[in-house]
Amino acid sequence: MSAPVSLEIVVNGATIDGRVDARTTLADFIRDGCGLVGTKIGCEHGVCGSCTVLVDDLPVRSCLMLAASAHGSTVRTVESLAGVELSDLQKSFRDNHALQCGFCTPGLLMTAQALLESLGNEEIDVREAVSGHICRCTGYEPIITAIEAAMRPRQEPAP
């Protein structure tokens, strides 16, 4: 048994005050505690990347982080990306056929989102940047293409 822990986390802009078992992973807290089941649990050992969320703007494998460790942090999940319309990144995934079953997609979107937000003018190897994610359906190429396409307007000002 593990002792309950109090925590306060901002999830997708909403402040969550909660009590969890100390051993509760951030992934389970997001899904079961916050009801945000868009975050997917693929391996629970930090290899597949499906559960990736942004903690204080950095991609984190939420299966490897305890919810209690996220106390005081700001967390963003896949549910935060779209408004009424899909975001440009999400549209690029759709337009480039970058998903099939869609199970690894939420994690990939969050890593890509962090990449887009941190873009400077340096050369980014997207393949390297998303290499912590496993996709079993697509063969990856459309994912790389989709993220590169979403990066382009941010990196190159329109002529």
């Binding site: 597949c48 869609g102 199970f103 939420p106 996709c135 190429e141």
Partner: protein, 780 residues
């Protein structure tokens, strides 16, 4: 047909399912949590073979956190296996593989349930285990104590003429090929949520099965319930690739537990459990012999296939059955071979049972055929492309009945080969390789022509084979919106999009007026499920047929209202128009409204409503899809690494519904081929302990393993089925293993007999000490 709009079939329509998946609104089994759900965790066998002395369920039974704990005596049910010993849902007297379920514990959440499973003492006396197929075939130790043999399948067809062809051949090539065990490993693990249904005393099972109706029938039989009392619902499914075909012990245990508790029971397989309990695949050996004349004429092929079943013959299809059956069917490929024979053996081993994995049996078959051709070409001194040309079925020979039982009705084999060779620059290949070699780079080229059996049809009297038809209901609601209730359901293939595309063209409505629902045995008509490259072919044909039936009725109503002949009515852009008279038109919405709400205005005697359920039966043994893959790989001496430099796919999959979706299937299949040839192997030690129990140990293809710029060329020979599809879900993997393995053989100068090829082998094969040229005039 002037008023027809451009067809939607054939266009790169964005997928209709993507919006919800991209928003994180996909709903997979793990995301479903009805009130009062209890969570199950399994106690599993830690040993490959042993006699159960005690399972101490009493140790946890009184724990206040336990909602229920069930063992073999509580649930003594067994699966009905077609061959070999009966499979208990929960092991009783004996365990026969690591991971076999022994007991199940239910608690308020998964954390607690797992804690409790660890508190159940399990006392097992170890028995000798058999993990290798050769050892199993020899006998001696049996997988199940008290059984006389490990052989659970024998299927031989070896004509005497084959032996004569071998005896009189100019050249005989003999080889043994091996595939390591693999596991399909979709990113979503298996999972089950069983919810009791107070109406009728049955239940609803939410699970990612590829065959909802087959699972329903199995569950109803086991529970002794009418089929109408059991409902299977597949929500969004995160990939399957064959591993979600079988009827698993966990499915049934969870269902039985939910009925017993009369509350929802949920089990989500974790990744470690997936490695021990997901039915595996491949792991087979092939003794091959091929006979050729001096001019390259292929006079004989014989292969002995030995495939593992694991500890039980999986329901409904053991890997031992499907690997040998589809393997022996696929082996002759697109070639004219004088005589052909096979001997198939399926053997038990003390390992997780086996079942299907994408293109089951096909990858090894294509590899064997294409490798034998390469080796024969070297020994005959004939160019390997030329040897293929000389033996390949030509357009003038169509239809061509292969010795494998296929009736090939496409004549595009040579076209596919030549196109692929052109794209890769085959004529300049030897020069290119020599140039690379002079720079110390090891590159190789592999060719794989294939014929894939797809959309299994009527196979004869054997009841254990696939359902040869599929079904769709097309219903127009009073608003004019269309609901499609498809028998076939998606595990990520995008069937909501492709079936809507098919229906849109028939009905003459926009795709956004169509909603496809699938994967619910209560709503959807009877289906054989999604596997074996059948969903697009048979589900697509049924959808087209049903939509056409509704369209015919809409034409009749329009003709009646517009005072024209039904033959003169075009349905397009949401309107029914009299051909040549654009002003004489009525919207389909109005037809829909009238057929429901103003039935008195319909033609005399016409039944109200706009709905049709149609079933399409493939009356042939199989349909076929064919093509050619060519791969160029580079191997690195220092690290043993590989890199796929170029990859060309030319495929004839019949009519393409959506090129983006087809290409996605091809890319994904080829990536799985990369995994099969270089990365993926389930390893057991000699004592039967599982060594690959995480994604750290079992390597799936990653971003840097795949082909950056794959070229995919489509040939579209329509099949005989409505819509003309041939099946493309498996073709990528069907050929990729052969293309890549042959490329490694070409690069190393060593005969490659086993996949995957590990980095240490690559380093060894391309090292200066290890490298030598293959036997043959061409390379000497």
């Amino acid at each position: 047909m002037t008023s027809r709009t451009t067809p939607v079939v054939g266009t790169r329509l964005a997928r209709l399912e993507d919006e919800r998946l991209l928003r994180g609104r996909g709903r997979f089994v793990a995301d479903l949590e009805p009130a009062h759900t209890t969570h199950a965790a399994f106690v599993r066998s830690p040993v490959p073979h042993g006699r159960i002395l005690n399972v101490g369920l009493d140790a946890v039974r009184d724990d206040p956190r336990v909602i229920a704990v069930l063992g073999h005596t509580d649930l003594p049910h067994e699966l009905t296996n077609d061959s070999g010993p009966r499979q208990p849902l929960l092991a009783g007297g004996e365990v026969t593989y690591v991971g076999q379920p022994i007991a199940v514990v239910m608690a308020s959440n998964r954390y607690v349930a797992e804690d409790l499973t660890e508190q159940v003492p399990v006392d097992i006396e170890p028995l000798a285990a058999v993990t290798e197929i050769d050892e199993s075939l020899q006998g001696g130790t049996t997988v199940h104590a008290g059984e006389e043999t490990n052989v659970v399948l024998i299927n031989d067809s070896w004509p005497a003429q084959l032996d004569e062809a071998i005896a009189s051949a100019h050249l005989v090539v003999e080889a043994e090929y091996r595939t390591e065990r693999q596991t399909a490993m979709p990113m979503e693990t298996r999972g089950v949520l069983a919810v009791p249904d107070p109406n009728g005393g049955g239940l609803t099972l939410h699970t990612g099965t590829q065959m909802p109706h087959i699972l329903r029938d199995a569950l109803a039989a086991l529970l002794e319930l009418p089929q109408t009392a059991v409902r299977i619902v597949t929500p969004d499914v995160g990939g399957a690739f064959g591993v979600k075909l079988a009827v698993y012990p966990e499915d049934l245990v969870v269902a039985l537990a939910a009925r017993r508790l009369q509350r929802p029971v949920k089990w989500i397989c974790d990744r470690y459990e997936a490695f021990t309990s997901d039915y595996q695949c491949r792991g087979s050996s092939y003794q091959a012999i091929a006979a050729f004349e001096r001019d390259g004429t292929w006079t004989g092929l014989g292969v002995e296939l030995t495939c593992p079943a694991g500890a039980f013959f999986a329901v409904p299809w053991s890997g031992a059955l499907v690997e040998t059956f589809i393997g022996s069917t696929s082996l002759p490929g697109p070639y004219r071979i004088g005589h052909y024979g096979y001997r198939c053996r399926g053997v038990l081993t003390n390992t997780t049972p086996t079942s299907a994995y994408r293109a089951t049996g096909g990858p090894a078959a294509t590899w064997i055929t294409e490798s034998l051709l390469d080796r024969a070409a070297r020994r005959l001194g004939i160019d390997r492309a030329e040897l293929r040309r000389r033996n390949m079925i030509t357009a003038s020979e169509i239809p061509f009945a292969t010795h494998g039982g296929l009736e090939i009705d496409t004549g595009t084999h040579l076209e596919a080969l030549e196109t692929a060779l052109d794209h890769i620059g085959f004529d300049a290949w030897e020069k290119r390789r020599a140039a690379a070699a002079s720079e110390g780079r090891h590159i190789g080229l592999g060719i794989a022509s294939y014929v894939a059996p797809t959309a299994a049809g009527v196979m004869g009297p054997d009841p254990s084979v696939a359902i040869p038809f599929d079904s769709t209901t097309v219903r127009i609601e009073p608003s004019g919106d269309a609901t499609i209730l498809a028998g076939v359901s998606s595990q990520g293939q995008g069937l909501e999009t492709t079936l809507a595309q098919i229906a849109a063209d028939e009905l003459g409505v926009a795709v956004n007026r169509i909603t496809v629902r699938a994967g619910d045995t209560l709503m959807c008509p009877y289906s054989g499920g999604t596997h074996g490259s059948r969903a697009g072919v048979l589900g697509g044909a049924a959808t087209k047929t049903a939509a056409a039936a509704v369209a015919t009725k809409m034409r009749a109503i329009a003709a009646h209202l517009l005072e024209a002949s039904p033959d003169d009515i075009d349905l397009a852009a949401g309107r029914a128009t009299v051909r040549g008279v654009p002003s004489a038109a009525i919207t389909l919405d109005e037809i829909a409204m009238r057929s429901h709400l103003q039935a008195q205005s319909l033609p005399a005697g016409m039944e109200p409503g706009l709905e049709s359920t149609n079933r399409y039966l493939n009356h042939r043994y199989y349909t076929t899809a064919n093509g050619c893959h060519v791969a160029v790989v580079q191997l690195f001496e220092a690290t043993g690494a590989f890199k796929v430099l170029e990859y060309v796919v030319v495929q004839d999959g019949g009519v393409i519904i959506n090129p983006s979706i087809v290409e996605g299937q091809v890319r994904g299949g080829v990536a799985q081929g990369v995994g099969s040839v270089f990365l993926e192997a389930v390893d057991y030690d000699r004592q039967g302990a599982l060594l690959t129990s995480s994604l750290i140990h079992y390597l799936l293809p990653r971003e840097w393993d795949v082909v950056p710029q794959m070229r995919i060329v489509h040939i579209q020979s329509p099949s005989e089925h409505p819509g003309g599809m041939r099946g493309i879900g498996e073709a990528g993997l069907h050929a990729a293993v052969a293309a890549l393995a042959n490329a490694v053989e070409d690069a190393t100068g060593h005969e490659i007999d086993r996949v995957p090829i590990r980095p240490e082998q690559i380093a060894d094969l391309v090292s200066n000490e290890g490298r030598h040229h293959l036997v043959g005039e061409q390379l000497e």
